[in-house]
Every structure is written in structure tokens, then in C-alpha cells.
């Protein structure tokens, strides 16, 4: 007894960090809010409906899947909400609501829960959901609407990336930056995405390595492709899902590498694949496929770049060289 208080003896840890999965996910949700508001302003209130359907399906499927598999409930960590938001951000505003629900269901049940739940998924659930929907419902997934028309029926066609290379009038860089062009819900407004990314960086939820190396690689390669044309580079960076992918999808904890060297390679690989697909493939966009492929390579990257434990001798490269000389 000290000052009338009981002293408890317990096993470590005695101090716990306040960083929990729930706090991290809450930060990500907050960081996604500017883009959500921007999309509601640009494409009308239907975007909120699409997002609501997608998020609620994600939560329900997570709850039901855990219940059916007799595992502990994990909706409290808010990760299902993040997945639902990201799935919605990858859909056009005209999408039939049931497709949004199918996408969220696929992301949560097939990609996440079948592989063991949060932290165990082999690829980013939202990315896989986007690709599955794109392969399944190609027409509905590319029904873009013009901004500020707030119509649910598709009005104008192509996204800036698809317009590039045609003779049609391209939106100006400022319009691109503010998101005033056709595209998926969350990908158009670069300003809002950058704001969210900055928040995540300041809160130290994500490390800058992946976004910077990803976007940087795309910038360098596009500079080479455009023979030094800076306008073209800015255009490529601000259009399509590059910013959304680089800031929110490629940095997913369970599907990106742990150490900095592997993160650098991961980001550069994403950038390289995105450029290759944008420039040489038949589809206008390559961000989702690039991130998926790099997601699958993460275990190998980590094995390649495993850090040397402190105090252990250096690798046998020199010994091998000496052996070769002798």
C-alpha cells in the first residue's frame, strides 16, 4: 500500500501507444473527405448515394462474413469504411447502385475475408474490386458525366486521358487541378486528393516514399516521352487515377512493403508499369493494374531488401569475389 493505493504487479507492456488501427483508419477517412465533398460538388448528390451504398455494403459484408466464419467482429476498426469509400471513389457517378454493392462485397468478402481479414489480404481490396468491375461491366464503368451537369445519364464521353491523342478540346491544367473534367468519383479533383495526402503525411499515417517515388517515376518517364514538354507531364500527373492510387491505394499497410528500400522499389515499379500501360496498352488508364501487380510482388521485394541485423558481418560478396580471383 502506497498512500492508500494498491500497487498492481502485471506483465509488460506497461505503456501502450495511442496509435491503433481505428485511429489510423479514422485519419484515412478524414483524408478522403475533401475528395468526397469535391465529387459531390462536381457530379451532384448521386455521388453521395453511390458512396453510401458502397460503404454500407462494405460494413454489412464484413460483419456478415466474420459472423459466418465464426471469427471476432472487426467492423470497429473502421477498415471496412475505408475500403467502401475507396471502392466508391473508383466508380463513375452514373454507376447502377447494385454494381457499387457488388464491388464492395467482392472487395471485403473475396479479397479480404477469404484471405484472413485485415492485414492478411494479398492485394488492395478496392483495387481488385475496381479491376473486377471494370472487366465485368466495362460499359457501365466508363459512363462518365460532364462536371456541374449533375445528371445521372451519361452526357459526355471520355476522360482527359482518353482525349489525349485525339483532336478534341482538352481541359486546361487549372480545370484538371480542380477536378472539372469527367472521371471516377474520387479521382478527378487533384487539389482535394493532395490536401488529403498532406494530412496523412503530417499525421505520419503514410510515409512519403511510395507516393513520391511513384509520382516521380511517372513524371520522369513522361518527361522523356514528351521530349521535355512540362505541360504534357503536368497533364499526365493530374489526370486519371494516379494521385488517388499513389496517395491512398499504393500506401495500404498490408499490401505495401515494410522497409524503405523496398518501398522505393515498389513506388518506382508502380510508376514504370503505369507509364507502360498508359503509353502502350489499349486502355487509357493503368494505375489499378500497376498497383495490383506490385502488390503481388511485395513479398519478393521484402525478401530481397531484408535489412541486415546490426552487428552481423557484411554479405559474402567480397568473399565470393576473392574466391573467384583465387
Amino acid at each position: 500500500m502506497v498512500n492508500g493505493k494498491m500497487l498492481y504487479v502485471s506483465a509488460s507492456p506497461h505503456l501502450r501507444s495511442t496509435v491503433t488501427t481505428r485511429r489510423i483508419m479514422l485519419d484515412v477517412i478524414l483524408a478522403l473527405m475533401p475528395a468526397l465533398i469535391a465529387s459531390a460538388v462536381l457530379f451532384g448528390p448521386r455521388t453521395l448515394l453511390v458512396t453510401a451504398v458502397s460503404v454500407s455494403t462494405a460494413i454489412l459484408s464484413e460483419y456478415a462474413a466474420r459472423k459466418l466464419m465464426k471469427r471476432s467482429a472487426t467492423i470497429g476498426d473502421l477498415s471496412a469504411i475505408v475500403t467502401g469509400l475507396l471502392v466508391a471513389f473508383n466508380l463513375p457517378a452514373t454507376i447502377p447502385l447494385w454494381i457499387a454493392a457488388v464491388g464492395s462485397f467482392f472487395a471485403i468478402v473475396v479479397v479480404k475475408q477469404f484471405f484472413g481479414g485485415i492485414g492478411q489480404n494479398f492485394a488492395n481490396p478496392a483495387i481488385v474490386a475496381r479491376i473486377v468491375l471494370l472487366l465485368s461491366f466495362g460499359a457501365q464503368m466508363t459512363n462518365w458525366v460532364a462536371p456541374f451537369t449533375w445528371k445521372t445519364t451519361p452526357v459526355t464521353g471520355a476522360t482527359p486521358l482518353a482525349l489525349l491523342g485525339t483532336d478534341e478540346q482538352l481541359p486546361s491544367l487549372l480545370q484538371l487541378f480542380l477536378g472539372e473534367h469527367g472521371g471516377c468519383l474520387g479521382e478527378t479533383c487533384a487539389a482535394a486528393l493532395l490536401l488529403g495526402g498532406l494530412y496523412l503525411l503530417l499525421r505520419r499515417v503514410i510515409s512519403p516514399i511510395i507516393p513520391v517515388s511513384y509520382i516521380g517515376t511517372v513524371a520522369v518517364l513522361m518527361l522523356l516521352k514528351g521530349h521535355g514538354d512540362l505541360h504534357f507531364v503536368a497533364y499526365e500527373l493530374l489526370s486519371g487515377g494516379l494521385l488517388l492510387g499513389a496517395i491512398f491505394m499504393a500506401t495500404d499497410y498490408s499490401t505495401s512493403p515494410l522497409n524503405s528500400k523496398a518501398r522505393l522499389i515498389f513506388g518506382i515499379g508502380c510508376g514504370l508499369l503505369t507509364c507502360v500501360m498508359r503509353l502502350f496498352a489499349s486502355m487509357a488508364e493503368g494505375v489499378s493494374f500497376a498497383i495490383l501487380i506490385m502488390n503481388l510482388l511485395v513479398p519478393f521485394l521484402e525478401r530481397l531488401t531484408a535489412p541486415k541485423p546490426f552487428g552481423t558481418p557484411k554479405k559474402e560478396k567480397k568473399e565470393k569475389k576473392e574466391a573467384a580471383k583465387a
Binding site: W98, V102, F114, S136, G138
Partner: protein, 259 residues
């Protein structure tokens, strides 16, 4: 080789779930993934493979005392290839639509691991009747697994069920099903549209994994080990493995042991 006492009922039922060639032994996955885009194709493929499997099992069992063990694999292949050629010609003659749909996968039954696997693991050392029953069980198991997969993939991926059923029965006349040619579950122009990805390869792999998990679950309940490759003991074919009988271990077992 010593003849083992076998119960025919067991030899038949083991092929359905416990030792289902596709879902538990993980054999013949290539035709499974390629052909299971529609139920009619799956049925055609399953029945063709089953006929080859039964016939080759019978002939190999008959010849098991004549075939020198050093050249048994080439002999098995010759026997299997003969039956595949016969089946292929029959299909070409009587069900041309199926031949067109299956394409190269019909002649490729020759290298279907299920058939060679059963010849090696069973027909080579059991009596003719037991081998025939084993062939029927395995063939039915293969067809069932294919049809389950195809049903899921066709309904979700194309919005139809049994589409093209008429083509399969063209032998019995042009209108044997009274104009029935499969159900159309998702009509053209309705609010729903089929999820094409299930017809594509990724959907095939997802469905395959799902069904495998289900088969594992059912087999696990009846006390069989999971179809994980955990050395030779966990292998569902351990009981009839010729390499194990000699005290050795196959490649899979060695790899797992060293890992």
C-alpha cells in the same frame, strides 16, 4: 504385385468428394479452368474424359501383368491416346458443336493427369472390375466438379444456365428438347447484367479456390486430412502410392520436408 482386397462401393464413392480428382487431388486443373465456362461444355468434357478413363482403366488393368514396369508410362500413354482418338472422332461425328466448343482440350485428354494418375495409382495394381469402378467414380467426380464450377461461372458470368443444351443432344434429332435451349436468367437490356469476369480466367481461379475450400471442409468433417501438401502422409493418394510402397517419397514430399 500383390492384389489388395477392395470394396467396390468405397472405390466408387471415394471419387466423389474424399478423393475428388479435381478438388482434392488437384489433378486435371487445366481442362477444368478452360472448359468450365458453360455447363454444357463441362458436361461434354466430363463425359468424354470419363469414357476414356473407364476404358483405359479396364485395358491397363487387363494388361497389368504383361506390361514391364520400366516402360509402363509409355504403354499407358499409348492406351490412353488410342481411346482419346476414338472419343474425339465420335464427338466430331455426332456432336460437332461440342467439338468446336472444346477445341484443343478434347485431344488434350491424352495428357489429363487424372487418367494417367489413375492408371499409375490404381489400374496398374488392381483387378479389372475394381479398376472399372474406380474409373466410374473418378469420372463422375470429375464431371460433378466441372459442372459445379461451370454452373457458378455460367450463371454469374453469362446469365444463362445450360445454354446450348440442344447442341449436346443433336444426335437424337434437331428438336429433341422441344425447342428448349437453356434458361436465360439475366435478360438482355434488364437492369442487371452478368459479371463477365467469372467467364474469364480470374473468375475461374476464384471459383476453383472456393469449391476446393468447400470440398476440403466436407472431407475434413469425415475425418480426412486437408488437401494441403504436407509431405506424403497428408496426400489422399498415400494409400495407393507406388513410390511410397518402395519406401521413397515423391517430389512433393521431398520439397515439403526440406522447406
Amino acid at each position: 504385385m500383390a492384389e489388395k482386397k477392395v470394396s467396390l462401393g468405397k472405390e466408387f464413392t471415394k471419387g466423389l468428394i474424399k478423393e475428388n480428382p479435381v478438388l482434392r487431388l488437384v489433378l486435371g486443373t487445366c481442362p477444368t479452368l478452360a472448359v468450365s465456362t458453360s455447363v454444357v461444355n463441362a458436361l461434354g468434357m466430363g463425359v468424354s474424359a470419363m469414357i476414356v478413363l473407364i476404358c483405359s482403366n479396364i485395358v491397363i488393368s487387363l494388361l497389368r501383368k504383361v506390361i514391364p514396369s520400366k516402360v509402363r508410362i509409355p504403354v499407358y500413354i499409348v492406351v490412353i491416346a488410342s481411346f482419346v482418338t476414338i472419343v474425339q472422332m465420335l464427338v466430331k461425328a455426332f456432336v460437332p458443336a461440342l467439338d468446336a466448343a472444346l477445341g484443343v482440350y478434347l485431344p488434350l485428354i491424352v495428357v489429363n493427369c487424372i487418367i494417367l494418375g489413375r492408371a499409375e495409382a490404381f489400374a496398374g495394381k488392381h483387378s479389372v472390375i475394381a479398376s472399372a469402378v474406380d474409373g466410374v467414380g473418378m469420372g463422375v467426380g470429375f464431371t460433378l466438379a466441372l459442372c459445379c464450377m461451370a454452373a457458378i461461372r455460367e450463371v454469374i458470368g453469362a446469365g444463362t444456365f445450360l445454354a446450348g443444351a440442344q447442341d449436346l443432344l443433336v444426335l437424337f434429332g434437331d428438336n429433341v428438347l422441344n425447342g428448349f435451349n437453356g434458361f436465360t436468367l439475366i435478360k438482355e437490356g434488364s437492369a442487371l447484367s452478368p459479371m463477365t469476369v467469372f467467364i474469364l480466367a480470374p473468375g475461374g481461379f476464384f471459383t476453383f479456390g472456393l469449391l476446393m475450400a468447400c470440398a476440403n471442409r466436407i472431407a475434413e468433417r469425415s475425418g480426412k486430412p486437408k488437401a494441403e501438401l504436407k509431405g506424403c502422409e497428408a496426400c489422399p493418394m498415400a494409400g495407393s502410392c507406388s513410390i511410397r510402397a518402395d519406401g521413397g517419397a515423391c517430389e512433393d514430399g521431398k520439397e515439403e520436408a526440406s522447406a
